[in-house]
């Protein structure tokens, strides 16, 4: 339960960090909050030769909220984003989901961008980014690029970041007008990874009918699964929407796996229940 040896690099600027990453390439891991990486090291499930500790790169410790959305720098801790009233007003799904990320003490240290880069299919924030069609900003000595959520999550614990690249920030688009969000998950114990979770974004038109409904799921597939349920809900007012049909559609459009926490069937059942729950709540909020 002790980490294997590694070379520690503590750059103080982004340029230094990118230079070290360019030099160390595939042998390097980036250390930000460390709330996922250090357990992996302690359990010897990872043994990178180099650890690039970005905790001293002050320029990455940013949180910017504009009308367009919330831009979160690579060193912004979960707790900072969760407590930001501005961020919650612009995109309430962030706070709603962050409250389910582990425990408050872990959120003091863990970072939003780190959670995205870790790309755990059971984590909350990748599903949020996928639902909102947000982006990850990456930089390397070769330049910068912006990666859409759908492309960013390549597989379980696998992002499309290249060796030598650093995720410098992420952008979560603002909640549109006449829209509502909801987040729910089921875990055996509060703070554990969820057996299934769902986030919804529902929009209504001027006649208060559901004009768009999308749900993103965690813990049901290798990457965050996003389903568009707009068609199933037939553009009705929320009071007459057939939520059970949406739940059934969702269950039929996911290929869940079993593990020690839940059977594939139970996981699919939970996803259906959660679909109905988050859609109702998000539609109510949209009105």
């Amino acid at each position: 339960m002790k980490p294997p040896p590694f070379d520690h690099h503590a750059p103080e600027t982004l340029e230094e960090a990118l230079e070290v990453l360019a030099r160390t390439g595939e042998d390097a891991k980036v250390l930000a909050g460390g709330q996922s990486l250090i357990p992996l090291l302690n359990m010897r499930l990872a043994a990178p030769a180099h650890l690039v500790d970005i905790n001293r790169v002050a320029s990455l410790d940013t949180l910017e909220v504009t009308e367009e959305g919330v831009r979160i720098g690579a060193l912004a801790r979960h707790a900072r984003v969760e407590r930001s009233a501005q961020a919650a007003a612009t995109q309430p799904l962030l706070r709603a989901a962050l409250r389910h990320v582990a425990h408050p003490v872990i959120r003091n240290r863990g970072t939003v961008v780190g959670s995205l880069a870790h790309a755990d299919p059971a984590a909350e924030l990748p599903a949020v980014l996928a639902l909102l069609e947000g982006t990850v900003e990456a930089a390397s000595v070769a330049g910068r690029r912006t990666i859409g959520a759908a492309e960013f999550f390549a597989g379980p614990l696998e992002s499309s970041l290249r060796p030598g690249e650093l995720a410098t920030g992420a952008f979560f688009p603002a909640l549109p007008a006449n829209a509502g969000i909801a987040f729910a998950e089921v875990a055996r114990r509060h703070g554990d990874y969820a057996m299934a979770g769902a986030a919804a974004l529902v929009t209504v038109d001027e006649d208060q009918r559901v004009s768009s409904a999308r749900v993103a799921y965690l813990s049901v597939a290798a990457t965050p699964l996003v389903l568009d349920l707009t068609g199933v809900l037939e553009r009705r007012p929320p009071v007459t929407c057939d939520w059970a049909a949406a739940a059934a559609y969702a269950r039929d459009h996911m290929d869940t796996d079993e593990d020690i926490h839940a059977s594939a069937e139970y996981r699919r059942h939970l996803a259906g229940v959660l679909t109905e729950r988050v859609l109702r709540a998000a539609a109510q909020q949209a009105l």
Partner: protein, 161 residues
Amino acid sequence: MTEIGLTVNGVLRAASAEPRRLLSDFLRHDLGLTGTHVGCEHGVCGCCTVLFDGEPVRSCLMFAVTAAGHEVTTVEGLGAGGMSPVQRAFQDCHGLQCGFCTPGFLCTVTALLRDNPRPSEDEVLEGISGNLCRCTGYQNIIKAVHRAADLIAEESGEADR
């Protein structure tokens, strides 16, 4: 080996350690502060919780080298001038049995009550949800948190109930 210096309980301390040295082990083995307990070493149990620049964090999920130059408060620093209100509340309410988890609870609760001096029952449950206790069944710990809130209020001369 690297020389690592940080402020622990208000005192500047330094020792030499490998970069892979966890802050929890640095405190215990290199600085001799064995009040911080090590349980699971993957962030689940909360026994190793310390205050890092005032905020509770898992010392087993941070490298000492990352903590260099920062301020750490361990359980030894909570009761520097006699037991703190939180420590007395845990004693009064029998909020511990074997005591292994207690240093982590004390650090977590100290920060919780600093940020939220009168937490609701749900806020207490949420606040301590990341700390495991295998003895007490938590009821007396929850009582101790409310009792500590009372003591802090009384002692700051603002008793409100």
